[in-house]
Amino acid sequence: MIDGADSAWLMMSTVLVLLMTLPALGFFYAGLVQAKNVLSVFIQCVAIAGMVSLLWFALGYSLAFSGRGDWLGDFGAVFLGPLTRAMVHPGSHVPESVFVMFQMTFAIITPALIIGAYVERIRFSAVLLFSALWLLIVYAPVTHWIWGGGWLAQRGVLDFAGGIVVHVTAGVSALVVAWLLGPRKGFPESIHPPHAPWMVMVGASLLWVGWFGFNAGSAIAAGADAGMTMLATHLAAATATAVWIAIEWIKYGKPSLVGAVTGTIAGLATITPASGYVGPTAAVALGLAGGVICYGAVILVKRRFGIDDSLDVLGVHGVGGATGTLLLPFLVSFGPGGLPAALNGGAGHQFAMQALGVVTVAVWSAAASYAILKLVGLTVGLRVTRDEEIQGLDYASHGETAYHVGS
């Protein structure tokens, strides 16, 4: 039976999660690139949103949520064939149409997160082909494994809102893409700084707000679970923001805006898988852990690995999502408001399952992304020419310019 409150909250959450891609992620990423590549980032977000929506309708949703296969859904819901107006999503009180749409916004933002790895040098056709194949080969199967009743769900892996499904898949794939694509011209010594830190802040703030839909919406009901999830989400974001400010203040003498809001996103990615299972105290602990660990991870990837994951998709999203996933079993009983009953077996057994989920999804994401990118390289090509990279993708690839001085 359809419940009005549950449906209203899930529709509102769907709006919030779409806002996270359009325009929040666009602002967050565009502010970090050079002025000559701003529009390329925005069009990548918009194009992925449009293309993924159609793919989700045609095939993606069916592969993720139809059927009872261990590894993959089936073709039973291709083009949303069985969908009727009155259909209720199983195990909930919301219309199936709303659940399809809610999940579609997750399918949109996940490949869009990977944009951060390839900005300022990729061909637009490569973005489209990679994102389309990645959605069907990485995102849809992994969603089925964890949320669609697949083999990891059967083993009791817990991922409330996408620590593994969204952040580990995108983060690990981002690293592979950045590695295969090669660094931007001048990396690492003479890379240009973010052209508009204020824009990064606008994007991160909209992401923070949108994340309430992402996490609390994943309760698929407007009730106690959604309420506690929202509180936990907010506290983790606030804590990780404070952590990054503190680290930079101590380390460099000046806390930076870009650092502060990067901490926000690290905290949000970290709480995501645990958000529905922990209380406020545990959420603060997760914000602390995620803040510190992601800070270290960002520096590790760029400096030690020397891989130009340009906007730190692995360091912030991948590592944050994995951290929250792995710490979840130990934090459900930490402080009030948690949900210890969610654990399958003890914390130790749950941790083993969480680790299994993170590792297998990371391996699949890496291997599949590698193969997809090789295919894209052989067909449409990966990088723009050196001249086009210097000219900037805005004009070279899209024929428009973000800032017209003096007009």
């Binding site: 970090l32 690492p188 010594e189 003479s190 890379i191 240009h192 700084p193 973010p194 830190p197 930079e248 460099y252 930076s256 870009v258 650092g259 990067t262 800070y295 960002v298 520096i299 760029k302 400096r303 730190d312």
Partner: protein
């Protein structure tokens, strides 16, 4: 006539304008420019990575004055623009060959 080009710290613009007004220099042109000198740019840190900013923002102030007023104007600019730190800028003085006020057609010193 002399043409004076001063490259100064952006935050000293108001002080320079006031100093020039005080000695009745009644017109100037300002342009936002970027460059480096002994300051050699600066470093900015984003997400733990250091970025070298080779060209730092400065303002270029241009003033045309009768030759006998050039020293006074240069001194006023220096007095107002100086903070004592590296990066305070430079002042260049060039001979000015001709001037024309577009509206009236007045030329040279009358046009300044």
């Amino acid at each position: 006539m002399k043409f004076i080009i001063a490259i100064v710290q952006p935050h000293r613009l108001d002080a320079v304008r006031e100093a020039l007004q005080d000695i009745h220099v009644d017109g100037l042109t300002v342009t936002e420019v970027r460059g480096y000198g002994r300051q050699r740019g600066h470093k900015e840190i984003y997400r733990g990575a250091e970025y070298s900013i080779a060209f730092v923002p400065k303002l270029k102030i241009e003033v045309a004055v009768p030759s006998e007023r050039a020293d006074e104007v240069v001194a006023a600019i220096q007095g107002a623009a100086r903070t004592g730190k590296v990066g305070d800028g430079k002042v260049f003085v060039l001979d000015l060959l001709a001037a024309l006020r577009v509206r009236t057609g007045e030329t040279d010193v009358d046009a300044l």
